[in-house]
Symmetry: C2
Subunit: 226 residues, 2 copies
C-alpha cells in the first residue's frame, strides 16, 4: 500500500541525543560582548537560517525574512541608532538602578561579524490565514519561533547570538529600507564564541534573580494573584 498519509515512525532520540538538545537549551546565552572576530562562513550561516526556516508557522505561511548585515559601515549606522534609543532607555531608570543599567553592555552590533534583522510580512498568506483568525499575533509568534530555532542551532555550532531590542523601529526601517507594512521582530548579533556566562548575564550582574519554576506552574486553572 503506498504511503499516502506521509506519516512515518517517529524517530526516537537516544539518551545522548536528548541530552544534546537540553545542553543547547541550558547553555544558550544572550551574548553581548564575547564575540570573536572570526568570520562566519556562508555554509554555517545557511545552516542556521535553514533551522530558523523550519520553525512552525501559522497556516504554514512562513512569514519571515532574514536581512543579513555584514558591512561594518552599516553596523556602525545601526549602532548609532541603538545608542540614541539606549540613552532614552537609561533615563527611565533612576539612582542605583540607572548606574547598573549604564554599566551593562546590551549589544554586540559592531563586535559581532554578522547581524541579522528578522522581519515578519503580515500580508503573506492573504487576509485570512488558517490559525490567525482569532489571534492576529500568530504570524509574529511564528517568527519568534524561527529566532529561537536559530539561537539553539547557533549554540550547537559554537556561535553566540544576542537579541537587541533597544531601537526605534523607524530608524532600522530607514537604514535597512524596510517597507512600512513589514514588522521587525528581532535584531540579532552573531559570531563565534569561546566563552559564555555560566548563568544569564543579568543574573550574574545582579539585575534579576531566577524565579523558582514551581512558583510558575498552576494546576488546572490560574492560581496566582487575581
Amino acid at each position: 500500500m503506498p504511503n499516502t498519509s506521509a506519516l512515518a515512525q517517529a524517530a526516537p532520540f537516544s539518551e545522548s541525543e536528548r541530552n544534546a538538545v537540553y545542553k543547547a537549551i541550558y547553555t544558550r546565552r544572550d551574548v553581548r560582548d564575547q564575540f570573536l572576530p572570526d568570520p562566519l562562513s556562508d555554509k554555517v550561516l545557511l545552516r542556521l537560517l535553514d533551522a530558523a526556516h523550519h520553525a512552525p508557522s501559522v497556516g504554514f505561511v512562513q512569514p519571515w525574512n532574514f536581512i543579513v548585515i555584514r558591512s561594518s559601515a552599516d553596523r556602525e549606522r545601526i549602532w548609532q541608532a541603538f545608542r540614541g534609543a539606549n540613552d532614552e532607555a537609561a533615563a527611565m531608570f533612576s539612582g542605583e538602578r540607572q548606574s547598573t543599567y549604564q554599566s551593562l553592555k546590551l549589544e554586540g552590533i559592531r563586535k559581532a561579524p554578522v547581524n541579522i534583522c528578522v522581519t515578519c510580512d503580515r500580508t503573506r498568506g492573504g487576509d485570512v490565514v488558517l490559525g490567525r483568525t482569532h489571534n492576529s499575533s500568530m504570524d509574529l509568534y511564528s517568527t519568534v519561533c524561527a529566532i529561537q530555532n536559530l539561537w539553539l542551532a547557533a549554540r550547537a555550532e559554537g556561535v553566540g547570538m544576542g537579541w537587541v531590542s533597544i531601537f526605534h523601529d523607524a530608524d532600522l526601517k530607514r537604514i535597512l529600507a524596510i517597507p512600512d507594512r513589514i514588522e521587525i521582530v528581532g535584531y540579532l548579533c552573531l559570531g563565534y564564541v569561546d566563552q559564555l556566562y555560566e548563568r544569564p548575564e543579568l543574573e550574574v550582574k545582579g539585575w534579576n534573580r531566577r524565579t523558582p519554576l514551581e512558583d510558575l506552574i498552576f494546576d488546572g486553572k490560574w492560581q496566582g494573584d487575581p
Copy 2:
C-alpha cells in the same frame, strides 16, 4: 584568582550533539491527531517546563506561567470553546478552500492527555523593563521562546505537541480563571507519539508549500516587494 565574572569556556558540541539539535528542529511537528493515550509522568513534564523556563526573557523577567490541564472534563469544556471559534474561522474561507479547511484536524485538546495554557504576565518586572522600553512586545516574544524550547525538548522526549490558536481568549480566560491583565500566548496539547508526519501536515495536505529559503534571505537591506 576567583572567577568573579562567571564567564567560562563555552562547552563545544560534538558532531553527534550538533546533529541531535538539528534532528529536533527538523523533525518537530505540530501534532493534532497522533497522540497516544499514555500518561505523561510529572517527571517528564517537569523536564519540559524547566526547558521552557530556561528560554531567554527580556530583562530576565521570566514573564510566563504554565497552567497544566489534565482533567478530561476541563479539556471537554475547552474543546467546546475551540469548536465555536473554529466554526467561525471556517466561515471565513470559501469554496474548495473551505472544504479543505473543514477536513483538517486542527487540535488534539481531548486526545492529548496533557494540555498547557502558557500565559504572559505583562505587569511582571514593573513598568520599566530593561529591553522592553522601545518594543513593548518583548515580554510576549520571550514567552514564545519558552514555548519553542518546550516544543523541541518534547520532541527529544518522544512527546508530540500541538499549538492551538483558534479560541476567543475570553472563553479560555473564563474557563481557566485567568485575570484580565494576563495575556494568553499559547494553548498546547501534549502526549506521547509514535508516528509523525515526514513533512508539515499542511504541506502534505496541500494547504501551502514550503518557500525556498533563498527567496527569504536578503543581503544588507530589504530586497523584496516595497
